[in-house]
């Protein structure tokens, strides 16, 4: 069975400093992995996805993630945090042969200090 573990429940950074949100996955096959963002009282928006093409994936709003099979990781990064980046971030894996069913990590709350 597939699963994802987000290693930090809360990350706090200063505006203009780098962001690192950590995610490890478990899968018996080559997984499809996603990062979604949820702003307060909003729906979920796709930031980026990995589907066995390039291991470095670029997403919206300057975010990117690198798929590392040897480390079973898919960490999300951004060079310089914006105040508007403050939100909940979810690392997600697609379940095998289950019609696009998504399995979510526990979420990481990102705070950005001025």
């Amino acid at each position: 069975a597939q699963s994802v573990t987000q290693l930090d429940s809360h990350v706090s950074v200063s505006e203009g400093t780098p962001v690192l949100l950590r995610c490890n996955y478990s899968s018996s096959y080559s997984p499809s992995l996603f990062w979604y963002v949820q702003h307060p009282n909003k729906g979920l928006q796709l930031l980026l996805k990995y589907t066995s093409a390039a291991t470095l994936v670029k997403g919206i709003n300057g975010f990117e993630a690198e798929f590392k099979k040897s480390e079973t990781s898919f960490h999300l990064t951004k060079p310089s945090a914006h105040m508007s980046d403050a939100a909940e971030y979810f690392c997600v894996v697609s379940a095998e042969n289950q019609g696009g069913k998504l399995i979510f990590g526990q979420g990481t709350e990102l705070s950005v200090k001025p």
Partner: protein, 113 residues
């Protein structure tokens, strides 16, 4: 031009009542989903439908009954509401394959009092 829209956005109701949440997508997807987000923000799938047929029922109580009149709509009806049903319910649609993302609605915050 909303891709996935669900109504209502907020729903406050008493225990024992029956309520429905409606969902519509205009993305042309064959697959639609209901996800539940609990008070700790954990998201878990409840149901998925492909072209009006139930594909996944993730051990959800029988009080929850999804209905898909056509592939663009997936409604969620909940009977005999309980306090523990309080959560945010998200509708989503997608390509129905492992390599396709899901597009989510804005969510319905259900509060049972």
């Amino acid at each position: 031009d909303t891709a996935v829209s669900q109504t209502p956005k907020y729903l406050v109701t008493q225990m024992g009542n029956d309520k429905s949440i409606k969902c519509e997508q205009n993305l042309g997807h064959d697959t639609m989903y209901w996800y539940k987000q609990d008070s700790k923000k954990f998201l878990k799938i409840m149901f998925s439908y492909n072209n009006k047929e139930l594909i996944i029922n993730e051990t959800v109580p029988n009080r929850f009954s999804p209905k898909s009149p056509d592939k663009a709509h997936l409604n969620l009806h909940i009977n005999s509401l309980e306090l523990g049903d309080s959560a945010v319910y998200f509708c989503a649609s997608g390509g129905g394959r492992e390599d396709t993302e899901a597009f989510f609605g804005q969510g319905t915050r259900l509060t049972v009092v």
